[in-house]
Symmetry: C2
Subunit: 271 residues, 2 copies
Amino acid sequence: MGFTSKLTSAWATNNSALCVGLDPDISKLPAHLKADPLGIQKFCIDIVDATADTVCAFKPQIAYFAAVGAEAQLQAVCDHIRTQHPHIVLILDAKRGDIGDTATLYAREAFERYQADAVTVNPYLGTDSLEPFLRTPDKGTIVLCRTSNPGSAEFQSQLINNEPLYKVIARTAATKWNTIGDCALVVGATYPTELAEVRSIVGDMPLLVPGIGAQGGDIQAAVTAGRTANGTGLIINSSRAVLYTSNGTDFAQAARTVALTTRDAIRKFSN
Amino acid sequence: MGFTSKLTSAWATNNSALCVGLDPDISKLPAHLKADPLGIQKFCIDIVDATADTVCAFKPQIAYFAAVGAEAQLQAVCDHIRTQHPHIVLILDAKRGDIGDTATLYAREAFERYQADAVTVNPYLGTDSLEPFLRTPDKGTIVLCRTSNPGSAEFQSQLINNEPLYKVIARTAATKWNTIGDCALVVGATYPTELAEVRSIVGDMPLLVPGIGAQGGDIQAAVTAGRTANGTGLIINSSRAVLYTSNGTDFAQAARTVALTTRDAIRKFSN
């Protein structure tokens, strides 16, 4: 099953557009896991198991694992998601971007080593740098368009023929990159106006929307701006706000409570 | 010692602007190393030892290691370069780019885990995404500007107020990102006209120039276009053309021969 089909199925099965981002910051882990050599892995797996029926996707952020040499733990977390929750979409957040031969290796990292359903990528190097991802059957290529950070306008909103760069990216995605139907875009919840503009360009293409919760994006504004005509099309990510509600032994149950509340808030504005 | 100082010293000590890119493609390794579990590491270390007196820098490309789960081998290669050839600049080619907190972790990956002197990064997310790299003392931040691939013009040459995006990036690097003096840019040897334009904007800032050799960039054109007034300023990368001249047991000696020829060709046009 392809990325978009699997996502559509996960949206329906769990009636949720929530994505839980797995950003395991060791300094924020519960005390009993901080000193555990496999603490990152155990933390993520407990979060996954506690929230799997509340989400459409999980999104491990590879930098949190790479900074501390925990690739084996990332592999274990990905394996757990795929085997224990096979209907949930697994997105590797890696924001890769490189020229042809190297991009092929990054595609192998995401799709073979970690067996992700989709990976985030950076468009700065152009279409040829994205092709190794786009041409991989059944895998999703989620291209940065308008990111959630405060400085994202600096280059992404520069005008090209009176149109900001992020809209050029969105149109290129819709017309050129989505031939297989498994392309998606990243647009931050922190920019609902831009989210609505991108939605108007890309039709029903899935949009990965980070920035609610700790980054301050408003759920109602994001969902209203980004949803498709039938009230879907969104992967609304929350990481820190879900992960670090409690740093006691009840962290997973506390995460579930926030995930449920967030899922319901998203659901309320989805139709 | 800071990145630019170390680079300046390496240019002078070895009288070389050559950078050997370490892209260990298992399918191209000599037969006796292909089946060796540590083949990547041994291959890179032998190349490093055979060429260290001919270069100013080594540039391991992390994707080649990440695709096959060989981070420990990358760490061993980096350790070897730093301990056995401490005057040679170590550039981690990773092209990272992410928002603040995550960028901080990628900086930790490059500068603490692999102890690189510099890392390549992608500017699409804006200045705030580069700050964790730029503010790390003594470390180099090498920002993608005009990349060497065939499709790099697609977005990088889009006109913003009649100026292509790569020139906006170059000016931003010169005026805003280089306050510590350890910022550099990537400009492909395959685009000598653009290389000359970037040089005219950034003064003496180091430019990492991939694209000679297998990618077809011409050494004379690149060096003539990119050199500073005093004939330096360039890190001219060659990967495949140096690494895969022989796939026999003489591969390192063969690499040395190509490295010497390439170094001399660069030197010839540097003054």
